[in-house]
């Protein structure tokens, strides 16, 4: 019987040699004690008995693999998304904005060379269109990636909840089985649970520990229980007005605590992409503003004062939670800092409220003052904020000149004659001073761009994107190698070696044959006795 069991276990090992997460099993044999026999009989053994089936398993190693899996999940996700953005801005292959940007400003020099030439003017408009479509394609590429990230956050949330349910179910089954005597069945369930936990760790950063009393594991995410015994809490992903997702577990927002696993990678990618998008929009907004500010100082071929070359920047007001109303309009483009603002309210301690306008990026308070519900007007950095209506302390808005900077990036001029190349109405058409001034904008330092030029700022953006991709790629290589090493180590302990199993197969077969032979001899001896 023992040999049969051994052969069954070998057979199971061979069958599951390629099953992910399977741990090699072995039969635990013990000498069958003579029991209550006395005298000579007590020295004769009673054969062998199977006391259990164990799996070759190292809990510490498995825990290390789970942690490495979290790193791998994060790195793999980061590398996957950031390398696609790296390709989107692949200036090494002349893909990106540098070419169209240079061509646009070179076209202004062509206009300066022949200010009254309609050919040069039409060429400039074409170059402007190419610049616009290039910027819009880049924005589309990033927003598509953000959309894909968002989709994956929700699908990963579903997968995490599915895996949590599976682990809870396995917890229940393991507890039930191990409370009885069917040890062998629980081993396979534990393998399944380990595999599910590994998959979960690939998705999200978890901590887990086993209750020695019942064999159930508790899994926490962001210091909240995801799985406890056979119970689960549902992880939810809620889209916020700021364009990102909040992860909530057991009623608490745990987003900031998730940094590893695929989910941690997705949340980081989302932030990286939002930063890249913000910087790209800032570049385009600055370009729009600088060109428009200079263009309106010039005169067109008919002696008329220049109008905006591009459609002017528009403010986007997002009402996060507010009973008040806010309108924001640009009053002076030359004063714009291209910062984004958060408008909120603070209780003044005497039954009223003070408004407070802060820089969204730095959190620095730009201005504040007493709020009048009948109407409060604030002029700040070229923007007029008009607030009115009843207010609560939760009311807040975000005001951005960047959100629609690329979406609204369009050419305002349609007639090439309206290009204001001249710096004076009386000196048209040969005056090219304004065209030269606009052509020089690409190298002009702009305070809104951290006192860098458009070219400098774009280079910084490329460096940032390349750096993100390079770091992600290096981290992935490291995480992958580390995980592979740990997996090899685990395989050296828990994996199935077919040669070993083949040897065992022969050994146990021989053992079975020998046992059968003993039975045969015993049978013959018994027959001899009967034939006396």
């Amino acid at each position: 019987m023992a040999s049969q069991t051994q052969l069954s276990v070998v057979s199971n090992n061979i069958s599951n040699a390629a099953t992910p997460g399977y741990s090699r099993e072995a039969v635990v044999l013990e000498v069958n004690s003579p029991g209550s026999k006395t005298g000579m009989n007590s020295a004769v053994g009673q054969g062998v008995m199977v006391t259990g089936i164990t799996r070759r398993y190292d809990a510490l190693l498995q825990n290390q693999i789970n942690l490495a899996q979290q790193d791998y999940g994060r790195s793999n996700t980061l590398s996957q998304y950031l390398s696609s953005i790296d390709q989107l801005f692949n200036e090494a292959q002349d893909i990106g904005l540098a070419g169209p940007l240079n061509d646009f400003f070179n076209a202004w020099q062509e206009v300066a060379n022949n200010p009254q030439g309609l050919t040069e003017r039409n060429l400039l408009l074409q170059k402007a269109d190419i610049l616009i479509s290039s910027a819009q394609q880049l924005e589309q590429g990033i927003t598509d990636s953000i959309g894909h990230v968002n989709t994956n956050i929700t699908s990963d949330t579903d997968q995490i909840n599915d895996l949590a349910s599976r682990i809870a179910l396995l917890n229940g089954q393991i507890t039930q089985m191990e409370s009885g005597s069917s040890v062998a069945s629980a081993i396979q369930l534990r393998d399944k649970r380990d595999q599910a936990l590994k998959e979960l760790n690939n998705l999200i950063e978890t901590s887990s520990w086993e209750d020695p009393n019942n064999g159930a594991i508790t899994v926490t995410v962001g210091q909240r229980n995801l799985v406890s015994a056979n119970n689960t809490n549902t992880l939810t992903a809620t889209y916020t007005s700021s364009g990102s997702y909040d992860l909530k577990l057991d009623g608490l927002n745990i987003t900031s605590k998730i940094s590893k696993g695929e989910m941690g990678g997705l949340l980081t990618v989302q932030e990286n992409l939002k930063t890249d998008l913000h910087d790209l929009r800032k570049l385009v907004a600055s370009l729009t503003n600088q060109v428009n500010l200079q263009h309106v100082q010039g005169y067109d071929l008919d002696g008329n004062a220049g109008t905006n070359f591009f459609d002017p920047l528009q403010l986007t007001v997002v009402k996060n939670a507010a009973t008040t109303s806010l309108t924001a309009t640009i009053t002076d483009n030359s004063l714009l800092t291209l910062d984004e603002y958060a408008v909120g309210f603070v209780d003044d301690g005497s039954g009223g409220f003070n408004y407070q306008i802060t820089n969204s990026a730095t959190g620095a308070v730009k201005t504040s003052g007493a709020y009048n519900p009948a109407g409060t007007t604030v002029n700040l950095e070229g923007i007029r904020f008009v607030l009115s209506g009843a207010v609560t302390a939760e009311d807040n808005f975000t005001v951005s000149p960047l959100t629609s900077a690329i979406q609204d990036f369009e050419r305002n001029l349609t007639d090439p004659r309206h290009i204001a190349a001249s710096s004076g109405a009386a000196t048209i058409p040969g005056n090219n001073a304004n065209a030269l001034a606009i052509a020089d904008i690409i190298n002009t330092q702009v305070s809104a761009l951290d006192s860098g030029s458009l070219a400098d700022y774009y280079q910084t953006l490329i460096g940032q994107i390349g750096g993100q991709s390079k770091t992600a790629s290096d981290n992935l290589t490291f995480a992958n190698n580390f995980l592979n090493q740990l997996t090899s180590k685990r395989d050296s302990i828990s994996g199935v070696n077919m040669d070993e199993e083949a040897a065992d197969l022969i050994r146990f077969q021989r053992s079975f044959q020998a046992a059968a032979r003993v039975l045969d001899v015993a049978d013959k001896l018994f027959q001899t006795l009967l034939n006396l």
Binding site: A92, Q109, P429, G467, M498
Partner: protein
């Protein structure tokens, strides 16, 4: 360490994957000829390349601007050479006369032809723009004003600058026809800073007085000729076409409005204007010299830009271009590794104790 079947599979699979990744990377380098194929391959290299490319783009545009400027200056220089030739011919008519009435009519007509030629030259058009009109390049430089019987400058004295490479500008590219500013030498307008007296062979003297108020875009020169006792003639001009017109009418012994002149008045005018023509020739030489200086600057700048562009292209090449010999050797090495791994894998994976069990 215990070796299991999965370890073999995993190691072989990882080894194949690494080698294939390297093979892909090398084949990309060979197909593009570049060792940097995306920013993350070499961030610093990409940023430097981006900077070099911007410089090259601006250099190329600067060279385009230089070509355009050189073409303009060549055209202007050619026109001014013709103007100089016309002025020489004008001067010759004054020097060659023998004073017969037949000569006077002939020279009057000849000078009128030269005057019209000068007018045409002053209104030369290059790329649909009037070359000598300042920034009012859609207007003729000079046109005849019947009310004053003179040729008036229609342009302005605005100078045009062009960019000739990153951070480099050529100021005063264009040649303005006329200027009220006596420090600006122009080819057609007369430049006179202060009153000047010319002693004539007849014993009379001509006083040339600058007037910058009558015409805002030109220096009008009022000429008063006096003999030993009294003023005998007055006339004025502001440009070489006016001068040609005065000479033409002087040959016909009349003022520009048709009023008759005495023979001595006409002769004094011719003598006075002969000196003025010399001044115009000097002005043309100065302007041609300025054109030459500008062209020299442009050519110098063009050489600098070409040299700079070559240097930047070399920099890009050093950063971006793959060393093909090295890449091909690496490719060969990886191919050999890959083939060895495949052969070894095939042997390792195909062997099992089960194969030997009967």
């Amino acid at each position: 360490m215990r070796i299991t079947s999965n370890i073999f599979y995993d190691h072989i699979s990882q080894g194949l994957m690494e080698n294939l990744k390297e093979l892909d990377s090398l084949s990309t380098k060979i197909s593009t000829g570049k060792k940097i194929n995306k920013p993350s391959d070499d961030i610093l290299g990409t940023l430097k390349t981006l900077d070099y490319k911007l410089t090259i783009s601006q250099n190329n545009q600067g060279q385009q601007n230089i070509i355009a400027a050189n073409n303009y200056l060549n055209f202007a220089s050619t026109v001014l050479t013709q103007v100089s030739s016309s002025i020489s011919n004008l001067k010759k008519t004054i020097l060659k006369t023998d004073g017969t009435s037949q000569d006077q009519t002939y020279y009057s007509q000849l000078v009128a032809t030269l005057r019209d030629s000068l007018l045409d030259l002053s209104n030369s058009i290059y790329l649909n723009t009037y070359v000598f009109s300042g920034t009012l390049s859609d207007q003729e430089s000079y046109s005849y004003d019947a009310a004053t019987h003179s040729y008036l400058y229609q342009g302005n004295n605005q100078q045009v600058s062009i960019s000739i490479g990153p951070g480099n500008t050529l100021n005063s590219l264009n040649i303005v026809g006329s200027s009220p500013n006596s420090t600006t030498i122009t080819p057609f307008g007369y430049t006179l800073a202060a009153a000047d007296t010319v002693n004539l062979p007849s014993g009379s003297s001509a006083v040339l007085t600058p007037d910058i108020l009558t015409n805002p875009n030109a220096t009008t020169v009022n000429v008063a000729i006096t003999d030993s006792q009294a003023n005998v003639d007055n006339f004025s001009f502001s440009n070489v076409i006016d001068v040609a017109n005065l000479i033409s009418h002087a040959w016909a012994q009349e003022d520009v409005d048709g009023t008759a002149l005495t023979g001595s008045q006409a002769q004094d005018r011719l003598e006075t204007l002969s000196g003025v023509l010399d001044q115009f020739q000097n002005q043309l030489l100065t302007v041609q010299g300025q054109i030459g200086i500008n062209q020299a600057q442009l050519n110098d700048q063009k050489i600098k830009l070409t040299s700079n562009t070559t240097a930047q292209q070399n920099n890009i090449s050093n950063i971006m271009d793959a060393d093909m010999d090295e890449t091909i050797v690496s490719l060969q090495k990886i191919s050999t590794n890959l083939n060895a791994l495949r052969a070894a894998s095939s042997k390792i994976l195909s062997q099992s104790l089960f194969d030997f069990l009967q």
